[in-house]
Amino acid sequence: MSECLETADRLLTSVIRGARGAWPRACAWLLRYELEAAMDRYWQRVCPEIGQARAQRPKLLLLTHYASPEIGHRTGYLWWALSRAGHHHCYELGVTAAELTRLRAELTDVVALLDSREVSSC
């Protein structure tokens, strides 16, 4: 398991001394980073030019075309959910542990799908 995932899991179950309870956001960042890393690995294999892009949106949109519509939708939904959870929003409080646990399970699936996807023609 990667370092970020391990840290995320620890945040879900234990307390960091001195932290003020914003851990759900930190957890979301770590999970999103893990997702982006998996995407980068995919693009590195499939089409490194796309992987060079700094913005995340085109990388997400192109997944539908390159990998599969299912992978594209699931990755897109997950990325947006984690982004939303990680940003400071007016009126909204941090996401709950249950929601993060669900997102983490989805992340594991999506990462596995991305990593196992065969390289089709560029």
Partner: protein, 804 residues
């Protein structure tokens, strides 16, 4: 207790001021004192004076909330505590849905009241969910209260591991560390619980869902007029006894009428006439006589004749006639005998002696030959004495005959005297028998044959009369008894009519006083409600007029006159939106929870924001600020809208955030300004020894970015509010800004179009490496970080301080 005394005094004063009759006042006050007193006063005893109020003993405790701790209860697994400042002030506990914040609210409510309206109306499965499944072992909720006197009271409900029944908790109550023996709450927290210091969304929804009477019942108890209602109920119960009796009497009246109608009996006719058409006007004394009496009714004369006929036997005329016949026969037998001749001879001699005494010696007037002289006289007297003796039997027989004849004639007269009136009285009922007797009587002479004929006829009449009398008696037995019972009941009702009138008046007067007292006392709460609504309504076009408690008994209701855009509407609820209804519910119920008479100086409000629009949230913050000046207000809320409004409006408040990790580990933390909280988290993570570097950089950058965003967004919001920009436009602009740079642009310039000028502005701020830091945090969350975490935190802190 002294509340009740005050109420009693006020009631007495008001009754006197209203010039209510002394007897009515006495009755009302007796009803206030209780059933026994009421009964005694109705019996005519004097109204006991209540012991004078123990001159305002204590004003009741002032109860604040100090802490709640819960273990294994609802959404809470391991022990979680919420500690509060036990005094006036505002505390906001924010937590997402599912963060167990409501479990904390419920813990307080359940510990103190053993109930929660949130559960009361839900299916059993919901109630069963009280056990947190992540927790094994004993469960407990403990609420510590702090009294104004400085004492503390801890209410603890605990369940041993494995107990599944919520109600099976062991309750212990400790006052200043000393466990109270009974495990009961102190008296001030009494079971009636009329000042429930809890307001949940469900309470607020009651405005919408409750029937008018339920809403009334939810609000009316704060007025503390329950003893008056109880007094009224007592009077009503008494009155009902009377009413029931009158009703029963009327029913029996009708029943009696129809029953009598079916009877072919002159007494029934008579009774019907005496009863008349109205039960209240029946002629009771006459009816009583009729009911009891065989001697009543139009055939009463016949009946008494028949009864006399039965009682008086005939004189023994038959025997007298026999004896007369015997005397006659004896007389006739002596007629031709010597005795009879001697008797006549003696009469002759006695006549001659009388002549001699009157005229002296002379010639015998009978033979004209002899001489009546002294010598003769001596012989004649001797002879007379002898003759008299010899004729005694004849004389006796004569006398006897005369006596018998006189007696027989007397008896015959008696018979006529007895029979003739009876014939007159009974001829209608027993015509045949009467005719026979009449005939026999007409031909009755002093002979045995005519007497025997009469006796036969008389016996026929006698038997028939007795039978008729018995039938008449039997026929009246039941209707008569029914009539008697009715007359008895009617007599009672009539006798107690005054009491009924008195009770009716007493109830009316009590009702009048109660209405006035209710209106006076409710006005205070109603004014608060109207004030709160003024603050909450904000942009609502619904105005609320003077709220009143109206109606009585089953028609009791809360009158809420509303107007929309200034024109009157009939139904408040129909014109209000969901958010307005919630706000209105709060306006209606908050005064109840904060009433001066309540021992609770705290109020717990669960999720009041719900569907309020942003401007109402500002109003809510203002309402809470006002209430918190004198009360401890604890608000649970599921999002950051209320805390945001509180920060923006500068309302003094203690804000906490509740989060829940896996395994129902719940944390309650002070929620500082969001930017400061993010920075504290960033610092904590930066120095944490056990987090891998890569993750650490990612997290610190994230916290720094959030701190900048929060600062920028709060600043933008505050400035736009001040400029009068509508809420939804502010929200739209903030939602459209995605990156940290976009948000800083909004915060700094108030205009998303000036993104190009951001870095120039930041450079001029005089914060070292400001632009670098912004760029670093933006990149770092995606894994590329070229700045030391410590520098990033320090620089962000400086930047945030400048921007605030």
């Amino acid at each position: 207790m002294s509340d009740t005394m005050t109420l009693y005094q006020e009631l007495a004063d008001r009754l006197r001021t209203a010039n209510v009759a002394e007897s009515v006042t006495t009755l009302v006050l007796a009803a206030f004192q209780g059933d026994n007193t009421l009964a005694a006063v109705l019996r005519g005893e004097l109204l006991p004076t209540l012991p004078a109020a123990a001159a305002a003993t204590d004003d009741g405790p002032q109860v604040f909330l100090e802490s709640v701790e819960a273990t294994g209860f609802r959404g809470i697994g391991p022990r979680t505590a919420l500690r509060l400042q036990p005094g006036p002030g505002l505390t906001v506990v924010a937590g997402r849905n599912g963060s167990a914040k409501s479990s904390l609210a419920e813990s307080i409510e359940y510990a103190l009241t053993e109930d929660s309206p949130r559960w009361a109306q839900r299916p059993a499965t919901f109630r069963d969910g009280w056990r947190n499944l992540h927790h094994v072992g004993d469960r407990e909720i403990a609420v510590r209260l702090r009294l104004g006197t400085g004492q503390s009271v801890t209410v603890r409900r605990s369940w041993a591991a494995g107990v599944t029944d919520l109600a099976a908790a062991t309750v212990s109550v400790a006052q200043s560390g000393v466990t109270l023996p009974t495990g009961n709450l102190p008296a001030w927290a009494g079971p009636e619980d009329r000042h429930r210091p809890f307001l949940s969304a469900r309470d607020l929804e009651r405005v919408v869902t409750a029937k008018p009477a339920e809403l009334y019942d939810a609000i009316a108890p704060i007025l503390g007029l329950a003893p008056l209602t109880a007094a009224d109920a007592r009077l009503q119960a008494r009155r009902k006894e009377h009413d029931d009796r009158v009703t029963a009497l009327k029913a029996a009246f009708n029943e009696l009428h129809s029953r009598l109608g079916t009877l072919d009996d002159p007494r029934a006719e008579e009774a019907t006439r005496l009863l008349g058409r109205q039960a209240g006007r029946a002629k009771l004394p006459e009816l009583a006589e009729l009911a009891g009496g065989a001697d009543a009714g139009v055939d009463a004369e016949a009946a008494s004749a028949a009864r006399r006929l039965a009682e008086h036997g005939l004189p023994d005329l038959g025997g007298t006639v026999d004896e007369l016949a015997e005397a006659e026969a004896a007389l006739r037998k002596l007629a031709g005998t010597e005795a009879a001749i001697a008797y006549r001879m003696a009469d002759l001699l006695w006549g001659a002696l009388e002549v001699h005494r009157d005229l002296g010696d002379q010639a015998c007037p009978v033979c004209q030959v002899g001489v009546l002289d002294t010598g003769w006289r001596e012989g004649a007297e001797e002879e007379l004495a002898r003759l008299r003796t010899a004729t005694e039997a004849v004389r006796t027989a004569k006398g006897r005959h005369e006596t018998q004849l006189k007696r027989a004639e007397g008896q015959l007269e008696d018979v006529r005297k007895i029979i003739e009136p009876a014939l007159g009285a009974l001829s209608a009922q027993l015509p045949q028998q009467c005719a026979a007797v009449e005939v026999a009587l007409a031909s009755l002479t002093l002979d045995e044959a005519s007497w025997d004929a009469f006796v036969t006829a008389h016996a026929g009449l006698h038997a028939a009369a007795a039978e008729w009398l018995a039938r008449r008696h039997d026929a009246w037995q039941e209707p008569g008894a029914a009539l008697r019972r009715w007359v008895e009941d009617a007599t009672v009702v009539q006798a107690r009519a005054d009491e009924l009138a008195l009770l009716t008046t007493a109830r009316r007067e009590l009702g009048t006083v109660m209405d006035r007292m209710r209106a006076d006392r409710f006005r205070v709460a109603a004014e608060q409600s109207e004030h709160i609504w003024q603050l909450l309504r904000q942009e609502s076009n619904v105005g609320v007029g003077e709220i009143k408690l109206g109606g009585t008994n089953t028609r009791r209701r809360v009158e809420i006159p509303v107007s929309v855009d200034g024109s009157d509407e009939t139904s408040a609820l129909a014109v209000m939106s969901q958010g307005e209804l919630h706000a209105f519910g709060l306006a209606l119920f908050l005064p109840r929870a904060c009433s001066e008479a309540s021992p609770y100086r705290f109020v717990v409000i669960d999720d009041p924001v719900q569907s309020m629009d942003p401007s109402k949230v500002d109003g809510l913050a203002e309402v809470l600020r006002e209430v918190a000046l004198t009360r401890q207000v604890v608000v649970f809320t599921h999002d950051d809208r209320l805390p945001e409004a509180i920060r923006r409006l500068g309302v003094e408040a203690d804000i906490r955030e509740v989060t829940r990790r896996e395994g129902s580990i719940v944390e309650v933390r002070k929620n500082l300004w969001p930017a400061r909280r993010y920075l504290e988290d960033a610092r904590a993570v930066a120095v944490a020894g056990d987090i891998p570097d890569h993750s650490k950089r990612l997290m610190v950058a994230g916290f720094c970015r959030s701190a900048m965003e929060a600062t920028a967004m709060d600043r933008y919001r505050a400035e736009q509010y001040a400029a009068g920009t509508p809420q939804h436009e502010i929200d739209a602009a903030l939602n459209a800004a995605h990156s940290v740079q976009d948000r800083l642009t909004l915060g700094v310039f108030g205009d998303p179009g000036r993104r190009g000028q951001l870095y120039g502005y930041l450079n001029r701020l005089g914060v070292p490496r400001a632009v670098d830091t912004v760029q670093a945090v933006a990149k770092a969350v995606h894994g590329q970080c070229d700045m030391a975490t410590a520098d990033m935190v320090a620089s962000t802190e400086a930047l945030v301080r400048r921007l605030r």
